[in-house]
């Protein structure tokens, strides 16, 4: 029976209470002593054949009969007014099907998608659709825009001095910070700066839109098909079910592809006006200047401890270069939550700049905040003469200090002890030398959310072939949700993982599934999948019970067979399902509520070993040891890949990635992979990865999220390793050779 209950759901640290539909016949948890045949064992991706043969159709591969190509006119100025724009001239060119400008598209998030007051270089002003990409380029030229350039601010310090904010600065306090710091045995003051980092998925933002009989279908390279559907339905005044959003294969998102995006709005409007399917694919340059960023920060900390290294007070401020608008991410959340400290004051100043917009990039806010906090803690440990591991162990905490709520589970200390043990932390002094190349080792810890929540729905069908089909509303953005879900179905039905078909990424085919963000996908979806598969399992065992005249409770499903517990009876599952004819067993499942009065968090610790070439300023990350507490691991093979990817993106943040803006023109000067340097195979260290793999006792299947945790501590560990190697603290990322040489000079 279905009923509605209230539950707390979190996304990137923002909590909301919502009603959720609960079904009473939720699947039982895996018992502590249950032998799992599939869950927890490594499985290659079920999409491997499609992805390795070119058969996987990505969004930018979608091609429809009569499809035309869109292009966008973008402002070359950091701030300007458009004084003229000739849409009619563009529309009159041969092969041009539509030309639209400011005011022609419904607003998105309360902001115009096309504007005559572009306030960053790259802001969209107009868009065209034409028979070929070349004709679309000619149409852009025919728009003949005239611009009135205006004054702009792109420098973070200048923006702060002008006191222009995207929203009011916010201060939060607990305890008496000033008194605590005045009484502290040791206090450090530190400033850290972090760069604007660009998500840079290899498939740029793209969408293909088509209208048919008043309904809109959009193939979108998105992290949230249902968010995209709801945005488009609201904007174009349609019922949600009159919009279909499809995303079967997409080429990466890393936070930056939320909802339908401006590209979805532009494609949909051009398709509406032209009566043709429209494809819009951003260029690499557009992807770099007009698709969002991890905002640059200036963080200052004043941190005090008693003589034993117990934190007594932390004062932190974060100046965040949000850009024109965007989410203000929780840069100081690590300062507020990672360690026990009764007195904490944090101040966030979201500065408005003529520089695009801030959107999510894997662990937004928390990754850059951890970079500052975890290095400040090492400075304090150094001042007190306490080992960095020891000071972290002395400041553990078993509850969320803001709310006072207990954690559902926390194994941070296990992570810290295991990561340092793997790395040989106790002997790290042996790495140091005074030669040209200096080695060092540093550590850092991590806290993140990742509990997921309702709603999420799943359906499993089983027909005569005994190959189950899972239908679910998530999208697999490369994280392996498809395979992990197949693992859960295979466990319940006793079939091979490869036998499970997964249909996901299509709002017309399934019930609601969550956005791939906040490390919440699998933690939200898996219990629903398990519940649906268990429903089918119960029905299958009842059929077998009737057929073989044995109690269902005496039967087990494994290895493609239904067997009696005593081993006297064994039949292939297909023998049972062959009786189904054209019927199917169908099971439904949904995600239940989150536990009341508790906070769900993931934890972890990483150690980095680096080599610094002091003559040329080059840093080589040699090894990273990563140990994370993310609850039960469903597919260790995919889980390790998530950690590897997070570590590598953090290495980019620490060493090479920085969006650079020309202060005289306000334009991005490195809008492409030639100058915006993402890591390559040659930059890749040995990465040793382990999980605590302890199911969370309060969550469905014990699963917590994994997408974001591994990117969080790496850069801070590299910073601490640099200080260990050289005795010098580098305060600004990325640690480019120029900055390294300046720091060592």
């Amino acid at each position: 029976m279905a009923r509605l209950v209230r539950t707390q759901v979190e996304m990137e640290g923002r909590y909301e209470e919502r009603w959720t539909l609960v079904e009473d016949d939720a699947a039982p948890e895996y018992a502590d002593d249950e032998r799992l045949n599939v869950v927890g064992h490594p499985h290659p991706r079920i999409s491997a054949a499609a992805r390795l043969s070119g058969a996987a159709r990505f969004i930018s591969d979608i091609s429809l009969q009569g499809m035309v190509h869109a292009a966008v006119l973008r402002s070359p100025y950091a701030n300007a007014r458009v004084t003229s724009l000739d849409l009619a001239a563009a529309a009159a060119l041969p092969g041009v099907r539509a030309a639209i400008g400011p005011g022609d598209i419904p607003d998105r998030d309360g902001r115009p998608v096309l504007t005559d007051a572009p306030a960053y270089a790259g802001a969209a002003v107009a868009a065209v659709a034409a028979d070929t990409p070349e004709a679309a380029e000619r149409a852009l030229a025919a728009l003949a825009p005239a611009w009135e350039p205006l004054a702009f601010v792109v420098d973070l310090d200048e923006g702060l001095a002008r006191q222009e904010f995207t929203q009011d600065p916010a201060e939060t306090t607990r305890g008496d910070v000033d008194a605590a710091l005045a009484a502290a045995a040791a206090v450090v003051d530190a400033e850290y700066r972090t760069p604007a980092q660009v998500q840079s998925p290899l498939e740029p933002h793209c969408a293909v839109a088509v209208w048919e009989a008043g309904s809109l279908t959009v193939w979108s390279s998105t992290q949230g098909i249902f968010a995209a559907r709801d945005e488009l339905a609201a904007a174009f005044d349609l019922e949600p079910d009159d919009v279909r959003v499809v995303c079967e294969y997409m080429g990466g998102g890393f936070g930056g592809k939320q909802g339908a995006g401006p590209e979805g709005f532009v494609a949909a409007e051009l398709a509406r006006r032209s009566g043709r399917p429209v494809r819009l694919v951003y260029s690499r340059g557009e992807e770099t200047i007009a698709a969002g960023h991890r905002a640059p920060t200036v963080q200052t900390y004043r941190m005090g401890a008693d003589a034993d290294g117990r934190l007594v007070g932390i004062e932190g401020s974060a100046v965040i270069g949000v850009g024109l608008h965007g989410w203000v991410f929780p840069v100081l959340n690590p300062a507020e939550t990672l360690y026990a400290c009764e007195n904490v004051r944090s101040m966030v100043l979201p500065v408005k700049l003529n520089l695009g917009f801030s959107n999510a990039f894997r662990a937004p806010g928390v990754m850059e905040g951890t970079f500052g906090l975890e290095q400040t803690l090492d400075e304090l440990a150094d001042l007190l003469g306490i080992d960095p591991l020891e000071i972290r162990l002395r400041n553990g905490v078993d509850h969320e200090q803001g709310s006072g709520s207990p954690y559902t589970s926390k194994h941070l200390e296990t992570c810290q002890r295991r990561a340092t043990e793997l790395a040989g932390w106790a002997q790290r002094y042996r790495l140091r030398s005074d030669g040209r190349v200096r080695r060092g080792m540093g550590m850092a810890s991590q806290i993140w959310w990742g509990g997921g929540g309702p709603p999420a729905h799943a359906t499993v069908r089983l027909g005569k072939s005994a190959r189950p089909t899972l239908v679910c509303g998530f999208q697999d953005i490369g994280t392996g949700t498809m395979t992990a879900s197949a693992v859960i179905v295979a466990e319940a039905l006793g079939v091979a993982v490869d036998a499970v078909r997964v249909q996901a990424g299509d709002t017309a085919r399934s019930g609601y599934g969550p956005t791939s963000g906040g490390s919440m996908t699998l933690a939200s979806v898996a219990p629903a999948v398990r519940s649906a598969a268990h429903d089918v399992r119960t029905q299958l065992l009842e059929l077998a019970s009737d057929l073989y005249e044995i109690a269902a409770s005496d039967l087990v499903l494994a290895d493609g067979a239904v067997s009696s517990r005593d081993g006297t009876l064994r039949h292939e599952i297909t023998e049972v399902t062959s009786k189904l004819g054209n019927s199917s067993l169908v099971g439904h499942g949904s995600r239940g509520p989150n536990p009341e009065g508790m906070r769900i968090h993931t934890f972890g610790c990483q150690v980095a070993q680096i080599a610094v070439d002091t003559r040329i300023g080059a840093i080589t990350v040699e090894r990273v040891w990563a140990v994370h507490d993310v609850g039960r691991i469903i597919n260790p093979m995919g889980a390790i890949s998530q950690v590897t990817g997070g570590v590598l993106q953090a290495i980019g943040f620490a060493l090479t990635e920085e969006r650079v803006v020309d202060p005289t023109t306000g334009t991005v000067v490195n809008a492409g992979f030639e100058d915006y340097k993402v890591p390559t195979m040659a930059d890749t260290p040995e990465i040793v990865c382990e999980f605590v793999d302890s199911p969370d006792p309060h969550l469905g299947l014990g699963i917590k999220g994994l997408g974001e945790p591994p990117i969080i501590p790496t850069a801070a560990a590299i910073g601490n390793a640099f200080a260990h190697a050289t005795g010098v603290r580098m305060r600004e990322a990325p640690y480019t050779p120029r900055r390294v040489l300046e720091a060592l000079a």
Partner: protein
Amino acid sequence: MQLRLTINDRPHELEVEPHRPLADVIRTDAALTGTKVACGEGTCGTCTVLVDGRAVLSCLTLAAACDGADVRTVEGDGELLDRLRTTFTAEDAFQCGFCTPGQLLSAVALLRANPHPSADEIRAGMSGNLCRCGAYPAIERAVARAAEAG
């Protein structure tokens, strides 16, 4: 202009404008969308295909310059490509899979030129192919395993 290409052993006679890049002709005219374009300016390796056995960036290669050429893409078959598919699967050497076609073709070119590369040679040979998901350690192992199996 009239263009003759053999793509994965199949002959194509195409009418193309002389300015068009090979990647676009493969994806649009030959309808083989396995080859991906991620930057369009020769900086990421995603669009790598083999032209007469050489790995080229098809986004920067004019189709017109390939008249009569033998082109191999990810849709092709062959013992070495199949071996790499097996090891890429076993090592989880891809996540979103968008860069994977280019990774596979670069690995084919590398292993044809150097059937038993050292670890450093694999890293040097594969460093022109970006993978933003960060599957590099798995890709490196997959290429090494494919070499061992050869």
